[in-house]
Every structure is written in structure tokens, then in C-alpha cells.
């Protein structure tokens, strides 16, 4: 053990800091700014308001209890192996109410998460993945540039799930969309109609939905979207999809006989 490591923790940190090569972080500390400065055009009040939308969400109390800083969540995290991403830092920033770090993570880290919930093996019962689910929703609702960027190229998927109730349909297997799937994507695309008809269950003969979904069921789903204000989340971040889905919702609600109620 080195001499420095025999010192009490606080003293050791001070010694180690002196021994470190000065970094950009030191410069920021000196300037009174601990973290990335890319979000300086956001006021502290704005950041705190967004932070509170996460901590006041009804799910927050189920996902955040405190952090032992053991790092088990990082060891289990697939995204931590490929990105500069740490579920522990997510939990710590939320737990410590470090609004600046939280805001940086909201914009730079939240969309790296795989949402596999491997981090749920946390001995303190935190769910960093669950926190990220909430953070992403807040990022979408607040129409953050980072959320808009993350959802680029995603319009068709959002449209499909919200208008049909099935997220993946056979007609999405197009060679240009799945070039890395090789010849199989091309072959499936070429034979789509007859191969779907060659599946025994009657519900699977469709090509534009994963299975046949009745009109009444789709109307009920739109009623759920209406009652839970889900489409409002899209209003600013994707006005085009929002307009199309809103028109569909009004039509379906009329078909379902619910139009007068609202």
C-alpha cells in the first residue's frame, strides 16, 4: 500500500488530486462550473423544473432508494460496455439531486440505455433503467433537441404502433431497411404475400400488421391514447405524426361512439 493510501479518505483524495494531471474538469471547477457547459443557455430554474418532472413522477419512488456506489449495475450493463454510459451515475445524479449532471445525462446518456433492466440486480433495489424510462418521457414531452435527434428515423415505428397496436409488421422487412440482414431480408420481402399465406394460423396471414386486429380493438386503443394524453407528447416533437394520428383518433372515436362525450 502506498503512503498516500494509508491516509484517511478525505486526505487521500486531496493528495491524489494534487498528484493528478490537471484536466479540463479542473478548469471547469476553477471557473465554478463542475460539469459540461453545453447547456449554459438553460437557466438553473429551467433545469430544476425538468428535474422535478422526473422526481415527481409516480414511478420515481419505485425506482430510486439510494446508492451504495457498489457498481454492480455498471458491471451488468450492456450499454456501459459500448458507450460512455453508467447507470450508477444516473442513479447518483438523481439521488443526490445533482441537477446539472442530471441535465447533461438527460441530453447525452439517456438514449444509450438498452432498457434490458440488467441494472435491476442493484442490492439497494434501485432501477436506473426505470429512471431512464421516465427521463426519456420527460425529454420527449419537453421537446428537447436530444430527444428529437434520438427519434429521427423512428416515425414509421411510432406511427405503426400507435395506429395499429402492433409495432412490427412483416411489410417492414425491406432490404433497404435491413441491409445487414443479408439475402434473407430480400428473399422474405420478395415472397412476402405467399409466405404469409403459407402460415397456418388465420390471424397471421396479414402483411401490414403483425396479426389481424379488429377495428373495434383499434378504436378502443385510440380511446386509451385520448384519455391518457399520449398523443400530446408528440405535438411538438413530431407535428406531422401528431396531426395524422390525431385525425385518426377523432375518426376512430366517432366510430366507437365516444365522440359526444368529449
Amino acid at each position: 500500500m502506498s503512503e498516500a493510501n494509508k491516509l484517511p479518505r478525505t486526505e487521500r483524495n486531496r493528495v491524489n488530486e494534487v498528484e493528478r494531471t490537471p484536466s479540463a474538469m479542473d478548469a471547469r471547477k476553477e471557473a465554478g462550473k463542475m460539469f459540461a457547459t453545453d447547456y449554459d443557455d438553460w437557466s438553473q430554474e429551467e433545469k430544476e423544473e425538468i428535474f422535478e418532472k422526473v422526481t415527481e413522477d409516480i414511478r420515481h419512488e419505485d425506482f430510486m432508494y439510494g446508492c451504495y456506489e457498489c457498481g454492480i449495475c455498471v458491471a451488468a450493463c450492456p450499454s456501459a460496455r459500448f458507450y460512455d454510459f453508467s447507470p450508477r451515475r444516473i442513479a447518483q445524479a438523481v439521488g443526490r439531486e445533482d441537477v446539472d449532471l442530471f441535465f447533461e445525462q438527460l441530453n447525452e446518456d439517456a438514449w444509450d440505455c438498452s432498457q434490458c433492466f440488467s441494472c435491476n440486480r442493484c442490492p439497494r433495489e434501485n432501477s436506473p433503467g426505470g429512471l431512464i424510462t421516465i427521463m426519456r418521457e420527460v425529454a420527449v414531452t419537453e421537446n428537447l433537441d436530444s430527444a428529437e435527434e434520438a427519434l429521427e428515423g423512428y416515425e414509421r415505428v411510432i406511427y405503426k404502433i400507435m395506429s395499429t397496436g402492433t409495432q412490427v409488421s412483416p411489410d417492414m422487412i425491406q432490404p433497404e431497411a435491413f441491409p445487414d440482414w443479408g439475402p434473407s431480408a430480400r428473399e422474405e420481402s420478395e415472397h412476402m404475400d405467399e409466405w404469409r399465406k403459407a402460415i397456418p394460423p388465420e390471424t397471421l396471414h396479414t402483411t401490414d400488421t403483425a396479426w389481424t386486429v379488429s377495428d373495434r380493438t383499434i378504436a378502443e386503443m385510440f380511446m386509451i391514447w385520448h384519455e391518457t394524453d399520449v398523443l400530446d407528447m408528440l405535438e411538438e416533437i413530431d407535428p406531422g405524426i401528431h396531426m395524422i394520428l390525431t385525425d385518426m383518433m377523432e375518426e376512430k372515436m366517432e366510430e366507437g361512439g365516444w365522440a359526444e362525450e368529449d
Binding site: W111, S114, Q115, N120, Q167, I173, P200, P201
Partner: protein, 387 residues
């Protein structure tokens, strides 16, 4: 742990307060209707030491958008197993997906909307006179998450009840949330009794699906005799019952790399993780003939990711991937193309079929004859009578 001791964590709290008891309390207060597991059912062991009822028939098959869209042999094999083993089932058209893929990937949803989707499906299953059986690992995990939220968050419960009443549904929660792989676990001896092929030369690795046992862990199936009870026994118990040689590998806990949004818009991450952390580790440590899993995204990710990494990057890949339902159906003599629909898979599965003793060339010729008949207007569809 003594029941009187104050719980220190949510885990201990859940162990003390089996959520099914809380559900019954809400039912007694007239807050929610519990859909009882119908008979006949099998009781199996859960992680938390309680038992779980797995219904055998009268089931409302909650299909999976990924399975039905990209790997239709997955759902078809489940239905085939029900038919072959003599259990009735219902394949509804009044079902939506759980929409969990959207919830986890693009976040254009919220707790109340997700609960609404789940409880509409449950309410519909009740109206149809059946009990829900969930095909997708994510739907299963997500619905258990929704169950906790609906039970513990009165505000959500009241909002969703109001929506359900507008739709003409009751607020219904099943007594147990049941994944189809728990059904194959429960009937594994029946499946083993009907084997057409000897599987003792087949080596398999198991990828347990994250959302099956990580989102809500308590009622996943565990067995002290499988992996020492240190991980879920699901899928492995079936494979061992069938006489398959199940080999372990070090990265079993890792996810497949699906990532929800990544498989759609950042597939470089998905491919890298699936092949480097999963397939290559399996190849090096176990050299399996097949990888078996029990979820939509896992089959798609582990299977489809191998093409580019193998062809372009010359990585050590080439392990076919399928669900345990497809594998069990094959072993029971199901048609590899008409039932298991293996032509929708990417990584070469033919060496596995040859090892099992299945003539894939003859089977493909039979399938092509059916497709020709459809193209020439001689028949509209391949039906159950054809298989």
C-alpha cells in the same frame, strides 16, 4: 425472515407481501376484479419460494408483434404444441400488443396509457371467456410492472378503471401473469413423451430473456436443482427433459443486445453486443448446435446479427437461434417450414436439422409445393389441416 420483521427493502417487502394477496384485498374492497387461473393448472416453484399456478388450457393467446411480424414460426409452434398435446386455445383478433416496445424505446407513452393497454387486453380476455397467456418476454415483464403500478398507485388504478368503463370493460387483473415458456415448463414431460427424434447428440446454450426475470423477478421460475437455483430455470428445464445436452457459458446474464431503439436505429451496437458478448462466447466456451431462448427480440437479435459479423468481419459466429417452442415442435416431428417457419431465420439451421435426423431438402420441397399451389390459385392458404 420472520413475517413480523419490518421490511428493509422493496425486495423484502415484496417477499412478505405477495402481490397476489394485495390483489385479493383490492378485490375484496370492490376495487378490481381478479381473473382466476382456470383448471386444470400445474403449480410450479417461483424465485421467492411461493408457487405459481400455470393454466394448461382455455387460454387467450396474447401474441407478440415481433414474433408474428418477423419470426412467425414462433407463435405457430406454440399453437402447434397446444394442438398436438390436446389443449384447447383461443387466438384472438381483439388483442393489441402490450406496446411496451414503444414505451421502452421511443418513450412516447406514459404509465396510465400502458396500464390502459394492458387492462384492456385483460378485460377483453375475460369477455372472451379465456385466460391470457403471454407470448412475449417484454409483454410479460411489462405487464408485471404494470400490475405493481396498478396495485400500488391508486391514482393510476382510478384513471384506468374510468377508461375501462368507458370502453365497456371491467377493471380485470389476472391472478397470475403467465408466460408461454412457463406453460412449456409445466408440460415438459408431455412434450418429452412425444419425441420423434433423439436429442442426446444436440448441444444447446440457453439465453434467458432479460424481461422475463429482470423487470419483476419474484415470480420467475427457479429450481434449486438447475444452476443451483442461482438463475432462472426456465427453458433449461424443458431442454433437459427432452434429453438435450445443455452447456453453460460465462455471459449468460448479458442481454442479447436488442436495446429496443438500438435494433431499429443503432444496429451497430446491437450487432456488436449480440455477436461479441453472446454468440462468440458461446462458440468458444460451449460450441453449441443451437441457441435456445424464449423471447421475440432475443431470437431476432441473436439470429439476424450474425450475418454481417460473419460474412464481412469474419467473426467466429454461425449458431442457429430459435425459441424452445420451435425446438420442441421440431423434436416432436413438426414440419420445419410449414410449422416452425425456419425460412424466416437467417443463420444456417440446416446442420442442426441434419444432426436431429430431419430431411430439410424434402421438407423444403413440400413447402415450395404449398407455395406454388397458393400462387396458382389452387388454395388460398396453408391451413392446420395441411400440417
Amino acid at each position: 425472515m420472520a413475517q413480523s420483521q419490518e421490511p428493509r427493502t422493496q425486495k423484502e417487502k415484496r417477499q412478505q407481501e405477495d402481490i397476489r394477496h394485495e390483489l385479493r384485498e383490492l378485490e375484496a374492497n370492490g376495487e378490481i376484479e381478479v381473473l382466476d387461473v382456470p383448471e386444470p393448472y400445474v403449480e410450479v416453484e417461483r424465485k421467492d419460494g411461493h408457487t405459481k399456478k400455470i393454466p394448461l388450457e382455455g387460454l387467450w393467446h396474447h401474441k407478440s408483434c415481433g414474433q408474428c411480424g418477423h419470426i412467425p414460426g414462433y407463435s405457430t409452434s406454440i399453437f402447434w404444441l397446444f394442438r398436438e398435446l390436446g389443449y384447447d386455445y383461443y387466438d384472438p383478433e381483439d388483442q393489441t400488443s402490450c406496446t411496451g416496445w414503444n414505451y421502452y424505446a421511443s418513450a412516447t407513452s406514459n404509465e396510465a396509457a400502458q396500464a390502459g393497454v394492458a387492462l384492456r387486453n385483460f378485460g377483453q380476455a375475460k369477455q372472451d371467456g379465456h385466460y391470457p397467456l403471454i407470448h412475449c418476454g417484454t409483454s410479460y415483464g411489462h405487464y408485471k410492472e404494470v400490475r405493481e403500478q396498478v396495485i400500488h398507485h391508486k391514482e393510476t388504478r382510478d384513471q384506468v378503471r374510468d377508461i375501462m368503463h368507458k370502453l365497456g370493460h371491467d377493471l380485470v387483473m389476472p391472478e397470475e401473469i403467465v408466460h408461454y415458456s412457463e406453460w412449456t415448463h409445466a408440460v415438459r414431460e408431455d412434450i418429452a413423451d412425444n419425441l420423434e427424434y433423439d436429442l442426446s447428440d444436440v448441444t444447446a446454450c440457453v439465453h434467458p430473456a432479460c424481461h422475463y426475470y429482470k423487470i419483476v423477478e419474484d415470480d420467475a421460475i427457479y429450481d434449486p436443482d438447475v444452476y443451483g437455483g442461482n438463475r432462472t430455470a426456465i427453458v433449461t428445464t424443458l431442454l433437459e427433459e427432452l434429453g438435450t445436452n445443455v452447456e453453460d457459458y460465462s455471459t449468460w446474464y448479458d442481454c442479447c443486445g436488442f436495446g429496443f431503439r438500438h435494433i431499429l436505429v443503432e444496429r451497430d451496437y446491437t450487432r456488436s453486443f449480440a455477436t461479441q458478448r453472446k454468440i462468440e462466447r458461446m462458440k468458444e466456451e460451449a460450441d453449441p448446435d443451437v441457441t435456445i431462448t424464449h423471447d421475440t427480440g432475443c431470437v431476432t437479435t441473436l439470429d439476424q446479427s450474425q450475418y454481417v459479423t460473419g460474412e464481412v468481419h469474419d467473426r467466429n459466429v454461425g449458431v442457429p437461434v430459435m425459441s424452445e417452442a420451435q425446438f420442441a415442435a421440431l423434436a416432436m416431428g413438426a414440419h420445419p417450414y410449414k410449422v416452425c417457419q425456419l425460412h424466416w431465420h437467417n443463420t444456417d439451421y440446416r446442420p442442426l436439422l441434419e444432426k436431429m435426423g430431419i430431411d430439410h431438402e424434402e421438407a423444403w420441397a413440400e413447402f415450395e409445393a404449398e407455395v406454388d399451389a397458393i400462387e396458382e390459385g389452387e388454395k388460398e392458404f396453408v391451413t392446420w389441416d395441411d400440417v
